[in-house]
Symmetry: C2
Subunit: 243 residues, 2 copies
DNA sequence: TGTCCGCCTTGATGCATGTCAACCGAAGTG
DNA sequence: CACTTCGGTTGACATGCATCAAGGCGGACA
């Protein structure tokens, strides 16, 4: 199970609300129509499990709307989120039918789904498609490793600042103050950051009191100075990640 | 920069000490000879930097002997290891010339290197090669995510037990007691586990006093009961990972 | 042989974060 | 309207790990 950005700026795959940059940008018409023929849509409401940990996985899919999470859990109930999927991200694992993580709808979610075997067949017959998927999964590895730095070495404050800055940059409209609706609960944030909900809540309160962010209700973050927030995040470079 | 297992059981690429399972197993003779023509060898001694963080990366390579580490660091000096490369693991990132991590020789290391552009050209012309690399990088993603669970949720004792069980299983000869030379210092272990050297040392002492492992000197671990060690690791399933 | 220098271990102490518990406000429901 | 539920906040307290500091062991080297 991987989260891969399939976003496409070109209208190559016009009939589909997902923008398959990677897949479609270099596709020939015949390939496009095969993709078209394979796809179908399905929706889940917030909180529902899309794929259970260890279950059979007979499709590949892109997220059309909403937000889903990948989690790995331990016997005693401890849970770690290992991926946060946003629109245009990819679910599925060519070459393997089993899901190593649980996939849960964080908000209401609609997926554009492809039959797994058909997708794999297309993959095998379309070299640039697997090349592009390779590039994307390499990005995914980088993102996971960036996250390992966060989990292993960052303080709670830095962790929360990192997540908020990522969400704010994703939602960036350009005009200040930057404003974003948090797509996930405190629990999901804590799960992603390797913290407890209480710690997340406290750190958000502190960041607010220190004037780094402000909030409109519990789920909307505002930020006048993204640079200040990113400084709190402790990132040396740009720091992209997530997905 | 990714760590990808290129191990090969078949003698397809006979001239090369690295066993390129992935690449060679399905290669045709002409492709094999092109790979042969591109390769060269180079060695580093323990502690030397192979690639600096952010530096140009003009090659792809497999580890022939020794052990190298991938690390990501923060401005203030905090360091997190994000990959541990063992013989047959892969270094390099088709499609991008920049190294997002530092690569350091943990022990003396010999690499079998390929010119990056030549490797990429071969990749583009050899569909099954990129397909196989895709599979391998998906495994890599799974490993990174397994490691995220460790970093985010496991206790110090579980972390150390996890790492030791991985190293012991890698080195497994079948006969008990299992015995393995630790290829990395306490510092590297701490870096990988998101701990300090003192904590690693203490936890190893505790595991020893509790009879879960025993040691011959500071760098050789022995284990009679791998199942017990894995129970300490807190892994629900098999737990593979690393690299 | 003695000295130095990594690497490792052990101890004392402090702090960041987890844990447990109470409470708040909003939304749903009878 | 009362009641419940759920997500979030805040407080008091506990603890696991980091930090700071000292010392041990073995190998390199004069």
């Amino acid at each position: 199970m991987t989260a891969i950005d399939l976003t496409l700026a070109t209208p190559a795959c016009r009939g589909c609300p997902i923008r398959h940059r990677a897949v479609c940008a270099t596709c020939e018409p015949s390939e496009l129509s095969r993709l078209e023929g394979m796809k179908s849509y399905r929706s889940w409401s917030a909180g529902q499990t899309i794929v259970m940990e260890g279950a059979e996985l007979d499709f590949a899919a892109s997220i059309v709307t909403g937000c889903a999470t990948l989690t790995r859990s331990m016997e005693d109930g401890r849970v770690q989120m290992v991926g946060l999927l946003m629109p245009s991200d990819f679910i599925g694992r060519p070459g393997r039918a089993q899901a190593p993580y649980e996939v849960v709808a964080a908000t209401d979610v609609t997926l554009c789904m492809f039959d797994r075997l058909g997708f794999e067949r297309l993959l095998a017959e379309t070299p640039h498609l697997s090349t592009r998927l390779l590039e994307m999964s390499l990005d995914e590895i980088d993102a996971a490793r960036e996250w390992m730095l966060l989990l292993g070495r960052k303080t709670a404050r830095e962790k929360v600042a990192t997540l908020l800055s990522i969400i704010l940059r994703r939602a960036a409209t350009g005009k200040t103050p930057l404003r974003a609706e948090l797509p996930i609960t405190r629990e999901a944030m804590a799960s992603y950051l390797g913290l407890t909900i209480e710690t997340v809540s406290r750190q958000m309160t502190l960041l607010r009191k220190d004037g780094v962010i402000s909030m409109a209700g519990a789920r909307t973050v505002l930020c006048d100075d993204l640079a200040a927030l990113m400084a709190e995040a402790g990132d040396d470079a740009d720091g992209d990640v997530i997905s």
